[in-house]
Every structure is written in C-alpha cells, then in structure tokens.
C-alpha cells in the first residue's frame, strides 16, 4: 500500500483545513465554501486521470500507483558496496485547498492513475503529460483539459470545454453549453469528435491539414462563402502591403452563429455530431 504525503499548501491565516484520510489510498478534501464556485486543478506528469461528478460536497481523491519509478526515469545507480536499496513507495502526491480551489499535484517519479470525484458543479483544470487517458464525466462547469500523449474523453458534461491532446483523440460530448463562452478543441495527430446540443449557437472555425471535416446532417450550419477563398487584406492606405492569402480555415455559423468554437487538427479529421 502506498503512503500519501499530504502537503497542505495553506497559509496559516486561512485556518485549519479538514482532511479526512479514510484509507491510505483515498483522501477526502472538502471545498471550504459550499456556496462559492469550486475549482479542481490536477497536474500529473506520469499517469492518467478520471474526474467524475457525484452528488456530494467534497473532493474524493483515489490513487492507483502503477508501482515503482516511471519508465522515463533515469537508470538508478547501483547500490554502494555492502548496501541495498529499499523501494521508495512515496507517490509524492501533493493535495491542497485554498479559496475553494483544490489542487492535486502528481509526483514526478511515480506513475499514478487518479480517480477524483467532485461535486457536479465544479470547474476543472487538468493536465497530464505521459502515458494515460484523461477522462471527465458528469461535470457542469468550465473544463480545461490537456493531455500530451494520450486521449482526452469528456462526456456527459455541461458548460464550456477547452480540450487539447498532442497525440491522441479528443472526444467531447456536451449536454448543454454556456452561452457566450468560447470553446476550443485541438489535437496534433488525432481525431476531434465533438457532440453538441441541438440548440447550440456558435461560430465554427475548423482547420485540418490532412483530414476531413464532417458535420451532422441534423445541424443547420451555414458555411461562409469566403471559406477556402482567398483572403485579401489591403493595408496600402496605412503604409502596409497588399496581400492575398489562402486561408486553410473553414468558417461557419451553427444555428445562426454565436461565440467562437475552434477545431484544430493536423493529421486527423473533425467530426461534429448533434446530440
């Protein structure tokens, strides 16, 4: 079993924080003010995470260590003569709460898979670098998710989403969207698969170099006539230059248009479904 080192990043003026340590691999952290907006920040270098909304008030953090130093770690020096190394099982997880923001920092050396349950109405800022899925379910709020070497899957959520993956697929399914919020979905080498509610109003900005764009038949999308047409900018009057360029971006208004919704991928396709 792993031990957790729980570092409470709190100034003494903030008073005491109740941290209930249920079991060694399960930590409950309450959000200080139930009436205020909640935010969960998670940064994991090695490992994946699943964030799930539940009908409660606290953040419940569970960790499953993959055991041992991560693959990316440098080879350990051999033990000095007459000595042996004991396995350092400290996962290095660092959990803190301040101003209704719960921050979870994964250790650098150990690979860990996190399962975090938070109240449904919580905003998320999630970042993971190596080896793992980033999954979000049943959340209502502003969701920011970035995964470098894995997929991002966000389902059954409401609010607004900014999702990015470098080498993975980005799958997002929104039940409801917050009006007037900009959104952005991007991946370098994967597919962007976004499901939007039927009544969403947005200005679509879609860009793919080596992929295709697919729109749901059920959506009323009006593509700009100027899309994929040369863009002329004339700045000669203000001492600039006259320029014509071919924009690789396709623009369109969905249900009459609204805030900007950006889709960017280089080697994947863009799929926009209707819920």
């Amino acid at each position: 079993m792993n031990r957790f080192s729980i570092v409470l990043g709190l100034a003494s003026t903030l008073g005491t924080l109740l941290v209930g340590q249920d079991t060694p691999d399960r930590v409950t952290v309450p959000f200080r003010d139930a009436a205020k907006a909640r935010t969960l920040v998670v940064v994991v270098v090695n490992g994946g995470m699943t964030i799930r909304g539940y009908d409660g008030k606290d953040a419940i953090i569970e960790a499953n260590s993959r055991g041992g130093p991560s693959r990316g770690r440098l080879r350990l020096p051999s033990a000095p003569p007459g000595m042996h190394r004991i396995d350092n099982q400290n996962s290095g997880l660092d959990i803190s709460e301040k101003d209704n923001v719960v921050t979870v920092n994964g250790g650098i050396m150990h690979s860990v898979d996190l399962l975090i349950q938070v109240p449904i109405q919580t905003s998320l800022k999630l970042k993971t670098l190596n080896g793992g899925h980033l999954t979000v379910e049943n959340i209502s709020g502003e969701i920011e998710a970035e995964n470098t070497n894995g997929a991002v899957t966000i389902t059954n959520v409401s609010g607004s989403v900014l999702a990015n993956s470098m080498n993975g697929r980005v799958t997002v399914s929104l039940d409801r969207v917050t009006p007037d919020k900009s959104m952005s979905f991007s991946t370098m080498n994967g597919i962007i698969d976004v499901t939007l509610p039927a009544d969403v109003k947005a200005r679509l900005k879609m860009k793919t170099d080596n992929g295709e764009i697919y729109l749901d038949d059920g959506f009323d999308v009006k593509l700009d006539a100027s899309s994929r047409a040369p863009v002329v900018s004339d700045r000669r009057s203000s001492g600039g230059r006259y320029r014509v360029r071919l924009d690789r971006t396709t623009y369109g208004d969905i249900n009459g248009g609204g805030p900007e919704m950006q889709f960017t991928t280089y080697n994947g396709s863009i799929l926009i479904h209707k819920k």
């Binding site: 900014l162 952005s184 991007s186 320029r243 950006q262």
Partner: protein, 266 residues
Amino acid sequence: MTCEEAKTLLSEYWSQTLDETRELAFDAHLAGCETCRAETERLGVLWKSLALLPVEEPSANLRGRFYETLGAFRQGLESAPRRSLREKIVSFWPRQPAWQMAVSFALLVLGVGVGYEIRPEKQEQPEVAQLRGEVSNMRQLVALSLMQQQSAGERLRGVGWAYQVEPSDTEVLSALLKAVNQDSSVNVRLAAADALHAFGASPGMRKAILEAIPKQSAPLVQIALIDLLVDLKKKEATPDLRALAADQAVHAGVRQRATWAVEKLQ
C-alpha cells in the same frame, strides 16, 4: 286725444284698421281740432292717389343679377387682405390627418436637411475621431483585461476581441505575444498565434515569431507559428526555418512543416 297722438293714428285711419274706440276718439278729436282736420284731408288725398299707382313687378333679370352681385361680394370678402396673421397660419394647416402627417414629415425632413447643411463642420470631425478612438480603446481594454483572466475560456474570448482592435495597437500585440509564449493553455496559445495574422505588418514581427517557436512545448502551436511566417511571407525567416527543420530535438511534425515552409517561401 292730443294732436300728436292723432297724427300717429293717421295711416291706420286711412287704411281703416283702427278699432272702434280709437276711431271714435280720433273722430272726436278731428271734430274739435281745425288743423288736424285740414291735415287729414290734405294728406288723405295724397294717400288715395298713391293707392292708384300701378304695382311695380321685378323683371326676370333681377334675380340673376342679384345672385351675381352676391357672389361677387362673397368673392371680394374672401380675397380681402384683412385676416390676422394667426388666421393665415391656421388656414395653411390641412384638416385631413393624412395631410397633417405629410406636412409634419416634410417639415421634419426640411429641418434635418437644414440642420445638416448648416452644421459646424470643423467641430464634428474631431468628435467622430474621438468617438472612434474611444471605441477602439474600449475594445483594447476588453481584449487586454480578458487576456489576464484566470479562466482559460475568458482568455480565449480576450484573444477573440484582439481581432477587433486596430492593427497598429502595440499593447494588444504584446499581450498576444505574451499569450503565445506564456499562456498555460495550448488552446489559448493556438488562438493567439492565429490572431497575430492581423498584426503582420508590425515591425519586429518576424523576430518575435522566431523567438516564440523554440519556447513552445506544443508542436501544434509551433506549426501555427510556422504557418504564420509563411502567410506573412517572411522570407528572411528561411535560415531559421532551415535550422529548425534540421533540429532533431524538435517534434517530427514540426520539422516537416519547417521544411515545407522553406520551400513555400522561396
């Protein structure tokens, strides 16, 4: 009965319309008064001879002539310049509501037209320019303040506002460059790199983009910046792009893009 009273009864006496009591009193007066008797006789002859005169009938032309005269009189009355100023103004006002509206509207148009013609030109122009400046400042303020927000969604909105400021706005430009270099969200960095297109004519742009590329952790943003150099036709960036294409530490996709950019810029 006095002589005076008797004289008032004379005409009635001759026309024989006096009642019995007054006729008796009149006769009694005549019997006793010589002057009145003589007067009554003398005038009585004239009265009787008047009755003998034939009754004059109006000719057929008279009626027509009368109405002509009446018409001419009325006409004269209407064209008479004797009405007061108030009456004149009132007489211009039509009775029909539709015409009233038409007149009102015509007056309004006339007023606006006159107002526009006589507007003080030299004062108006700086005011419009000032207003435009204020709107531009407001957009700048919105863009800058949103780009400093905690929430990435708000910062993304701020980048969207950057499209609406003047391309000469150096403050917004530096905020965008800062976002490209330092923002924690890849999506915000990506949007900021796209927004730099509008500021392509700014001096130092090529240098700023070339400095930003190696700082990037996200290849997606690096590619967006390389695309920006190509779109802005920054030929001077070719040696740097060639070096980038050869750098093994750089993501393969980025190197490929840099190679493509070098070809494109030639």
